[in-house]
């Protein structure tokens, strides 16, 4: 079955980001396809490559990157939510004349249309948030 995942909550906030990750992992292990994980609202903060959590804690952004690399998952960050919160990829850095970028590997910035498409193209769209 084809799944879309929507993450509306930032990392280390409550539990939604962890739940989304564990659900996604379990779905892959069960042989399902993850069409896309869409990060919206504070969820865009899951895509920062500048996070340095304590060594004995889970590294939430890296964990998403690794899962995406291993399973070829499309990790999409909402552009409007990202701009508000200072999540920037090299292209956005140029476009908005910023002096840095911070989007982690395997994440990409795109629009809400990608969420709508995930809703249309998948069998199930599962939402995690606060």
């Amino acid at each position: 079955m084809k799944f879309g995942i929507l993450v509306n909550e930032g990392p280390y906030t409550h539990q939604a980001s962890d739940s989304a990750y564990l659900f996604t992992k379990a779905a892959i292990e069960d042989g399902h396809e993850i069409f896309r994980v869409f990060f919206y609202h504070d969820g865009v903060n899951n895509g920062t490559r500048l996070a340095t959590p304590p060594q004995d804690d889970r590294h939430i952004p890296n964990r998403w990157t690794e899962l995406a690399k291993e399973n070829n998952i499309d990790l999409v960050v909402c552009v409007a939510a990202a701009q508000r919160r200072g999540m920037v990829d090299p292209e956005e850095m140029k476009r908005n004349k910023k002096d840095a970028n911070n989007l982690a590997e395997n994440f990409r910035i795109s629009g809400l249309g990608q969420l709508i498409e995930a809703g249309i193209q998948t069998d199930r769209l599962i939402t995690f948030g606060d």
Binding site: M1, F3, N8, H14, Q15, A16, S19, L22, F23, K25, A26, A27, E29, D30, H32, R124, L125, I126, T127, F128, G129, D130
Partner: protein
Amino acid sequence: MLHTINKSPFEKNSLQTCLRVAPDKSNILLIEDGVYAALKNTDFEKNILEGQKIHKFYVLEPDLKARGLDIKSLIPNIDIIDYKGFVKLTVENSRVQNWL
């Protein structure tokens, strides 16, 4: 239809709202702080017992464990499942509503 509830009923009224509008024979999965609704001897127990007459309840075991909640302290007839079971529920139910 599957509903997921991720808030304690003592914090938000999402479970109450869900119970009010859920079609008969819904599957209701308690995750994150939602697992507190599965406890016996709370003010909310009667709502679950009432809901069990028309719906099936599930609770996510890792989230129970994370909160140090004992399986023995749960209302009877709530199925205890893991993430694999969570995925299975989303496959079996053609519609999923994630109450936030």
